[in-house]
């Protein structure tokens, strides 16, 4: 059953990624705007690479990292777009489901099903716990803002 759940979750991830990539391609094909290349390349990785990497135990960590950071990059850029051009908040919420599915696959593989790990202290913000993602989200937002605001 565990393997079935894993395949179902990977399929869910794949469907959301295809849907997201499709939407981006319709809104701004990579050739017409420079920044269209970013979701195009990230989308290709999310559709063709990440689901495969999630399937194998050896590449699970890489899949978890790529998936998490692709969500972070999407949330930051789309939040920026929402504030500057047109609201994409609904799309951001949809994108967050990808993070949750990725985390579910990771937890399914790494922790026993009836376990309840409780990291303490620095462990809270260290890989692979949720705090790691909060810290990196804040850090990426800060670095992105520096690049946008000061490197003109």
């Amino acid at each position: 059953m565990k393997n079935k759940i894993k395949i179902l979750l990977i399929s869910g991830l794949l469907f959301v990624s295809i849907g997201g990539g499709w939407l981006h391609y319709k809104y701004h094909p990579y050739a017409s705007t420079g920044f269209g290349w970013v979701p195009f390349i990230v989308g290709l990785i999310a559709i063709f690479l990440v689901p495969v990497l999630f399937y194998f135990r050896k590449t699970l960590n890489l899949a978890y990292l790529l998936n998490g950071f692709s969500v972070i990059i999407g949330v930051i850029t789309m939040a920026h777009f929402s504030l500057e051009s047109g609201p994409l908040w609904a799309n951001i919420v949809t994108l967050l489901s990808k993070f949750v599915i990725g985390r579910a696959i990771f937890c399914l593989e790494v922790y026993p099903l009836d376990s309840n790990p409780k990291p303490k202290g620095w462990g809270l913000i260290r890989y692979p716990n949720l705090g790691f993602w909060y810290v990196h989200f804040v850090a990426w937002t800060a670095v992105y803002f520096l690049g946008y605001h000061f490197w003109r």
């Binding site: 705007t33 420079g34 920044f35 970013v38 990059i73 850029t77 920026h80 777009f81 500057e84 051009s85 990426w140 670095v143 992105y144 803002f145 520096l146 690049g147 946008y148 605001h149 490197w151 003109r152």
Partner: protein, 31 residues
Amino acid sequence: MNKIKWLKPLWWVLHIVAIAAVLWLGHFVEF
């Protein structure tokens, strides 16, 4: 983290590359 020898250098390389990439992304977008 210290169990694998190449993990620490990789950690530094990843952070430097990621900071440069995200900084560039902020510079690059035109919203």
